[in-house]
């Protein structure tokens, strides 16, 4: 189990690859981001994107799934207060294969909660051409390694 103390600054972790599915792109957009370039393949051709593209939030949600699958059960992370500097750099299209690389750039023990620490993770998301399509800097809360009590 990876606790706060075990997180290595600079170590790069890479996820598996997810293929962006056309039906799922349409379904997510219908529910959460019904702009025409996400929901209407014909109309999307007239947009600046030249065709249907995934909602940026759908891409982000797919990345979250890749990260959870990668780290689930292996890390003592207990949620996230948020993120900074999320940028969508290139459109993501049906059939694109995306994967993410995460690296810890900073870690800070909590002053107020001695059992917790904060880790800043920079996540870069690439497509099948290894083009950077998205990045963000997440803040993740980690449990500190439990202290073994000394016998009395």
């Amino acid at each position: 189990m990876k606790y706060f103390e075990d997180v290595e600054i600079g170590a790069v972790l890479e996820t598996a690859t997810h293929t962006m599915d056309r039906e799922e792109i349409l379904g997510f957009a219908q529910a959460f981001d019904p702009q025409y370039f996400h929901t209407d393949e014909d109309a999307a051709k007239t947009s600046i994107y030249g065709g249907l593209i995934a909602s940026g939030w759908h891409t982000a949600a797919c990345v979250m799934r890749l990260l959870v699958d990668q780290f689930k059960g292996k890390t003592a992370s207990v949620g996230s207060p948020g993120f900074d500097d999320l940028r969508w750099l290139k459109p993501v299209r049906p059939g694109d294969k995306i994967y993410a690389r995460s690296v810890c750039i900073e870690k800070t023990p909590s002053r107020s909660k001695p059992n917790l620490g904060t880790v800043r993770m920079r996540t870069d998301v690439f497509n099948q051409k290894d083009e950077l399509v998205m990045h963000m800097t997440s803040i993740v809360l980690y449990l500190r390694r439990p202290v073994k009590s000394t016998g009395g």
């Binding site: 959460f32 702009q35 947009s47 940026g56 949600a61 979250m64 799934r65 969508w88």
Partner: protein, 149 residues
């Protein structure tokens, strides 16, 4: 609603959206696909954490906000998408049967230097639950087309 172009935004303009009701079923459905951490899937698992019960994935909360924004004005605008988001913070959990209200305030309006047919509007957002507690804040950018001449 008249179509909103880049020129139609005003500094400090405020738009309020919602309320949007959050159901247990949709929390579990979203988390099952996109954020399958135990406290997003199951009450018992949630009770074992400081959340004290099942809570929505933060990504689901954002997605619900996006829907409110598209219904609120983006769907009737010359939107071309967004370059990104800054300083998003999940401040309080979102729980089953919450009712969420979103407020947007326009902070900067910047024409594109390279492409004269568009510009970027940056706004601050605040999401509240039915108790009036702020559950999420962020700063978001929207790319909008100029009115055709």
């Amino acid at each position: 609603m008249k179509k909103r172009y880049f020129e139609d935004f005003q500094l400090n303009e405020t738009i309020t959206m919602g309320p949007r009701h959050v159901t247990r079923d949709e929390i579990i459905a979203f988390a099952t696909r996109y954020d399958p951490q135990p406290f997003h899937l199951d009450d018992a698992a949630g009770r074992a954490t400081p959340f004290g019960g099942l809570v929505a994935s933060g990504w689901h909360t954002i997605a619900m906000c996006m829907r409110m924004m598209v219904d609120g004005w983006i769907g009737q605008s010359a939107s071309m998408g967004s370059p990104g988001i800054d300083q998003l913070r999940w401040l309080k959990p979102v729980r089953p049967d919450d009712d969420l209200t979103l407020t947007m305030i326009v902070r900067t309006i910047v024409p594109s230097k390279s492409k004269p047919d568009r510009g970027i509007v940056k706004s601050d957002y605040e999401l509240k639950n039915a108790l009036g507690e702020v559950v999420m804040t962020f700063s978001g950018m929207g790319l909008y087309g100029r009115r055709p001449s």
